[in-house]
């Protein structure tokens, strides 16, 4: 409250004494409102403090559950082997194809080089007529493989043999064999699953549903995950974990974005974005307010946008927020992948010449190019990762 304002109020009272009771009543009313608000804020603060504690305990529980899972596997495999000293965590680049073939490249933190070639294909890059899916995760993670029939398989990353990074070859790939008429659709790390309330399932044609964590066990047991896709030619393309207030984002190949609070997503499968007949979803993820968005195009552009730029979708019938201009879209520009990113993240690019190249986010933000430091090529795939141990 500026002192000169008080002086002005006093002047009013001097000129018109009848204003005095009014002014006192207004100020008293405001004080009452503010007092009530302070009380509300204090109560909210206590809840927040408690909430943080809860979150901390949840993290510890997750860690313990993970340790327990590892122990169970050791017991289940026969003899309880003496505990091995924990090896320094590394990053695993996982490439998988609908036919169930999986390649893994293991990289220590010291082997990560900005604009460096992490691995190269010897021959064919796209084994099933389409570029492989990319995933980069901690080597100590557990992977959930989901087939389009809803069948799931859980596997530690280390169960997939590390490939020769200079001669990636699908013929030598690990095979997570599909059953008849079945395709591998999704692979995702699940150690942090207990931290989230929901699992969000997305299909290529933008059909979305959220599954409560409490229901997930029965979904897994009954092969429900990934099922319920409404269109005959459609299939599940991603699973994302999130909490009620998180912002869920998905990006289509033609560059349209859908964004919604997880809480607002449907529990019964529903198409939430009107895609063009030729379009499909390429990425979906949770966008933290402190993160930003990076969109990779096939022609090698890295489009960086603040989280605030992404608009909440107004309805489930919209065409989505365009991330690339109409002119560029009509000229053939398409999205290869998109992700929520922080400055400490790394980007992984699969190029049409068979090279897997890693970039720091700083480089990508700065240059706006996914091809910097290398000869021109098409971008076939894009994902991001964080070096294990460099923060949550």
């Amino acid at each position: 409250m500026a002192p000169d304002k008080v002086e002005e109020w006093i002047r009013e009272v001097e000129e018109r004494p009848s204003s005095a009771p009014l002014i006192i009543r207004f100020i008293a009313g405001r004080l009452e409102t503010l007092t009530r608000r302070i009380e509300e804020l204090r109560a909210e603060n206590i809840e927040l403090v408690n909430g943080r504690k809860v979150e901390e305990y949840e993290r510890r529980i997750t860690n313990l559950e993970y340790q327990l899972e590892l122990l169970k596997r050791q017991v289940g495999s026969g003899a309880l082997e003496p505990a091995q000293p924990a090896a320094a965590d590394t990053t695993s680049l996982v490439l998988f194809a609908p036919s169930g073939r999986v390649l893994r490249v293991e990289l220590a933190a010291t082997e990560l080089v900005p604009a460096g070639v992490a691995a190269s294909f010897l021959g064919e890059i796209a084994p099933d007529g389409q570029p492989p899916y990319l995933l980069a995760t901690s080597t100590q993670e557990e992977l959930l493989f989901v087939f389009d029939t809803g069948r799931t398989v859980t596997l530690p990353v280390t169960a997939i043999p590390a490939a020769d990074r200079e001669k990636l070859d699908w013929q030598q790939a690990f095979l997570q064999e599909p059953r008849a008429s079945e395709e591998l659709a999704v692979a995702l790390p699940i150690s942090r699953l207990p931290l989230f309330e929901f699992c969000i399932q997305t299909s290529r044609r933008a059909f979305v549903k959220k599954i409560f964590k409490s229901s997930l066990e029965s979904y897994l047991a009954n092969f429900y995950l990934g099922t319920g896709v409404k269109l005959q030619l459609d299939k599940m393309c991603s699973l994302v974990f999130g909490n009620k207030t998180d912002r869920f984002v998905m990006v289509s190949q033609e560059g349209f974005l859908f964004c919604s609070d997880v809480d607002s997503l449907p529990v019964a499968i529903e198409d939430v974005l009107k895609l063009n007949p030729t379009d499909h979803i390429v990425s979906s993820f949770i966008l933290n307010p402190k993160s930003s968005l990076l969109i990779a195009t096939y022609n090698g552009k890295a489009l960086h946008r603040d989280a605030g730029w992404v608009e909440q979708s107004s309805s489930f019938k919209s065409r989505g927020q365009p991330a690339i201009s109409k002119e560029r879209r009509e000229a053939g520009t398409r999205v290869a992948g998109a992700a929520a990113v922080d400055e400490n993240d790394w980007g992984l690019v699969l190029r049409s010449d068979g090279k897997l190249v890693t970039y720091t986010m700083g480089d990508l933000f700065g240059s706006g190019s996914l091809l910097a430091g290398h000869s021109p090529a098409q971008v076939l795939g894009f994902t991001t990762f964080r070096v294990p141990g460099s923060g949550s």
Binding site: K5, E8, W9, R11, E12, E15, R16, S18, S19, L22, I23, F26, I27, R30, D306, G308, W309, E311, Q312, S313, S314, S315, S318, Q321, P322, S325
Partner: protein, 441 residues
Amino acid sequence: MSLKVGIDFGTSNSGVAASDGSRVHILPIDPKSNVPEVVKTILYITKDYKTYIGQEAVELYYRHNVNRARRFVKQWAGEVEYHGSDGLFYVTDSYVYVDELKPGRLLQYIKTALRSENYNGTHIFERYYSLSEIIAIYLGALKKRAEALLHEDITAVTLGRPIKFSPLPRQDQIAEDTLRQAAYAAGFQQVDLELEPAAAALYYEMSLDRPQNALIFDFGGGTLDITITRLGDPRQRQIYASGGIGIAGSDFDQAIIQKRLLPHFGKGKASSRDILELVNTVSDWIALPELSTPRARAKLDKAIQQGEAPVQLKALKSLIFNDLAFSFYNTVETGKITLSERGATVISLQEKDMDIWELYTRAQFESDIRQHQVQIEQVLLDTVAASGLEPAQIDAVVKTGGSSSIPLFSEMLCRTFGADKVKASDLFSSVTAGLAIKASQ
């Protein structure tokens, strides 16, 4: 059978009246309004080009817009040609961000646009509306409502006009022609114009039983119009002098915003030039709604993240992106009106991320509009001087228009002419009634 009516097309409010020669009937033209005889001069055009006026327009605007979703798309706006410092000639594409979910456009202070040299019209969605077309839509809606109330076709109208739309004679003529053209386009076959204070004088004259010299002080939302006239005997009716100035209620609202409310949106705390530009736009009712672009949002988000007046800039963001501009200006106007009745009020607006509470006194208000008051007093004295009469020779001072009830100006009139001579006519309807009398003559 056809009928002739009087229409007061005001800056903030309008009205329609009909006279049968002996009695004037002010029509309840806006049944949704608290005062049905007064209709807000507000036009709302929806995306499917349906039009609404008055309280219905306001309610629909709120229903459509407050806290609505937005989606901005970049649209090609044209080409910019320029000579570079390298001597070469360049042509570059220019784009604008358009909110494709915008459900409609609200137009207010339409009459003020008549005095602008630069405002010829505006794009509303895909269509261009000239100023004349905009006014025609509004007048056409008034005509339709009046015909429904009177159960008769209305073919002729006497429209009010201020003494001066503009101090520039050419612009003044353009404004009058535009208003006349709009009335024809609205479907009137005969259009007459009458000075608003002269119309108020005619209404006042009905109450007189002997001739007198009267000063009509018509002070509304957009202009102050003064007429000094001889009234009471139609054969000796004479206008001694007329004067006016383009200062009125909307300028006072602007002064309140600039001097008292901008600090709630970051003035005095925010320091970056970009942000201060946004803050200073708050008092501009035409420019503020246009600020809702992704670029402005990004600037505000960045400043908030950097801790530059975060509370105030959150409020500014809420004002711009939750379509609160109209509520905000209404709140300011209501606060100003309240100060005509009592010494203090609170200008308050509580919305998401916004908690404006400003205790505002009449003394503060009078200090904030002091400059305007000096100019107005000068116009008053100049007009009296031009009439050739001394203040003592003026028998009555008749106040009309919403701003004429502001105590500072009532006191000014009492001081100049004597309190016993100052009379309040029907603040919102005396011009309308006078125009109906003129129409019936």
